[in-house]
């Protein structure tokens, strides 16, 4: 084990310096321009997730008759305006319509409430955060007017509270989504580079020297960590430039909604989960790339590999609003989507033990993939007289 780590370091040092001190590294540093474009294009996905996040529920604390009337009024309006045009209503049983502490019901309901409509249909009162009250005040007036079946306008009194459970949840979802998108973009642009990482050794015929001198696992590990190091250098440069840029154009860092585990730990988890996502996908790509004999084969492989990455990312992105549901558990358990699903959890749930388990789970799979890749590589590629290299990629995989 000690020898493997020592040898990995030799490989990682060589690869790292070869990359960092090359002219092409400056082109690599210009890479964030592309994810920016992708981020804009990926807005469609974000919009879908936003729709899931933005499912407003208004609690109704009216007397029984008025509640029945407003529910019926909602049905009518839904028929004309559609589901998204009218918020969902949740009847709050046993709550006094004139309770002066009605705001306390916001966090007590079985489902997170955006606001509560109380008082009466003649004099309705909407309690919630300033943003939510302002947004839904008009719709609630329309609902009341429809329920009362009269043309005169109804004025909805606004009762603003500082923060609600729903707002907190929504903010955390936004953080989860933001964190996940950053992680996905970074992994997508960086992990794919590992695919061609062994081609240099194979085309320059250095692989045999390496294979005779150090354990093959060390070659794979060294290469992965060199690329991870390079990625972290790139991210550090981008983050620094981003910070400087933001400081220049605005008064400082934007006031982002805090994640459930707090910002310091969230940042640490971002680094850890990025590393794990990178190592997991990177080890798989390195293994696939190692089976390719030429640069052309690597180029051909890069498309299906990118599509595979996208599938994993879509699963993780889709599950961000489905916390605790089977699809989210699947994203957590599938090793390749696990880091992305877990960073979303870090934004929304404050228990820490799950991150320790997830990191061990992901690290274990990285090692399994490396071992499997090494086994395939030794069996199918390191053959005498180039017999391995002369075969096609699929034939090498099959044999």
């Amino acid at each position: 084990m000690r020898e493997t780590i020592r040898a990995s370091f030799v490989i990682a040092r060589r690869d790292f310096t070869a990359i960092i001190f090359s002219k092409s590294f400056f082109i690599f540093l210009a890479g964030p321009l592309f994810p920016l474009i992708i981020a804009i294009a990926a807005g469609g996905l974000g919009k879908q997730v936003n729709q899931d996040i933005d499912r407003p529920i208004i609690g109704v604390a009216l007397n029984a008759n008025e509640t029945a009337a407003i529910v019926a009024a909602r049905e009518k309006l839904v028929a004309n305006l559609g589901k998204n045009g009218v918020p969902e209503l949740l009847q709050l049983n046993g709550v006094d319509p004139d309770d002066p502490d009605i705001a306390s019901q916001l966090d007590k309901a079985v489902r997170p409430l955006t606001a509560i409509l109380s008082g009466s249909l003649e004099n309705p009162r909407l309690t919630g955060s300033e943003q939510d009250v302002r947004r839904w005040q008009g719709r609630m007036a329309l609902l009341s007017e429809t329920a009362l079946s009269r043309p005169e306008p109804v004025e909805v009194e606004a009762q603003v509270v500082a923060s609600t459970g729903s707002a907190t949840k929504r903010n955390r979802l936004a953080t989860a989504q933001g964190g996940q998108i950053i992680l996905i973009l970074l992994t997508m642009i960086l992990a794919g580079m590992v695919l061609s990482n062994l081609v240099e050794e194979k085309t320059n015929k250095i692989i045999e020297i390496l294979a005779a001198a150090i354990p093959m696992d060390a070659i794979f590990l060294g290469k992965l960590f060199a690329m991870l190091g390079m990625a972290i250098v790139g991210i550090t440069v981008w983050a620094t430039l981003g910070f400087v840029g933001l400081s220049l154009v605005s008064s400082g860092m934007p006031n982002l909604p805090p994640p459930a585990v707090g910002w310091p730990l969230f940042c640490v988890l971002m680094i850890l989960y990025f590393s794990m996502a990178y190592l997991l996908l990177g080890s798989l790509f390195l293994g696939i790339g190692a089976m390719a004999a030429t640069v052309r084969e690597v180029q051909t492989l890069s498309m299906p590999v990118t599509m595979g990455q996208l599938l994993v990312f879509f699963l993780a992105a889709y599950s961000v609003t489905k916390l605790g549901e089977p699809v989210e558990w699947a994203a957590v358990l599938i090793p390749f989507s696990s880091p992305f699903a877990m960073i979303a959890r870090a934004a929304q749930m404050d228990n820490l033990w799950q991150h320790g388990v997830a990191l061990i789970w992901q690290a274990m799979f990285t090692l399994i993939i490396i071992r499997f890749s090494v086994m395939l590589f030794r069996r199918n590629v390191m053959k005498s007289g180039n017999s391995g290299a002369k075969k096609g990629f699929l034939a090498r995989l099959r044999s």
Binding site: A18, E201, N204, I207, A212, A213, M382, S387
Partner: protein, 320 residues
Amino acid sequence: MTFIPSEIAVEARNIVKRFDGDVAVDGIDLSIPRGSIFGILGPNGAGKTTTLRMLLGIIDPDEGERFLLGSPDPISRAHKVGYLPEERGLYQSMKAFDAIAFMGALRGLPLALGRERGRQMMENHGLGDAADKQIRQLSKGMAQTVQLLGTIVHEPDLIILDEPFSGLDALNQGKLERLIRAQADKGVTVIFSTHVIAHAERLCEEIAIVAHGKIPFMGKVSTARDRLRPQVHLETRNLDGPWRSAIPADCQPLGHNWHFALPESGVEPLLRALIEGDAGIQSLSIERPGLHDAFVSIAGEAVAKKMEEDAAQDQAAEAA
């Protein structure tokens, strides 16, 4: 637990390797003493490279056992081994002295020491000016020398060279032979594969002949040569007489020249019969068979011919 005597550098017992059902190495046994120069002789495709790769732990045998410097796990002895593969390769963007240091570092030599030694070795080999050049800027011969220096920079106990003379011009072949001898003088075991008999004959104390994945002969070069009787080349004034009974009955003259294997009774009875029988000896020489003759008799004409073709191809490639 298997006992490997300490005087044995490399041991293989009935190792077998198959690729896609084809047998590349078919039950080879090897025992290579420490401190010797050992040649593995055979044509391309005979199984030499596969055997070396198995001995080094690059690939595992399907059957049998191998021990490198006493260990069944060759990679665990890598820091004491130097290996020059048949297909030479270096990182093109590396500086020459750094490439030597890197190869040493792979085998446990501290990088700083490797760099220091790398520069010194290049200086000693007349390549001091090229030490700071990138590999891509070096000539093919210089790059090969750099790789060879990288193979020995960590001062290994065992050096394995796969077709080391292939692609080298006569000058560099001579340099390499001197380097191999110098390493052996220091007590280093050197194993090399080749399809050029002359190299094995000049350098090796012991050889293994590989043909069709098997080893039909392993032992001292002199033992291989002794398998054939010395050849007598005789020129006589007379073509007939009582002395003819001393010459094998099936031997026919070519003019007044006779060529035949020395009879088992030896030189003295032959000489006595020729003189007393009035053969009129014009010239007489008795030649010990070369390794080439021994190779032909051991591996067969077809294998020997294939090996000559490989050597000719090498020369053509070098000339090109």
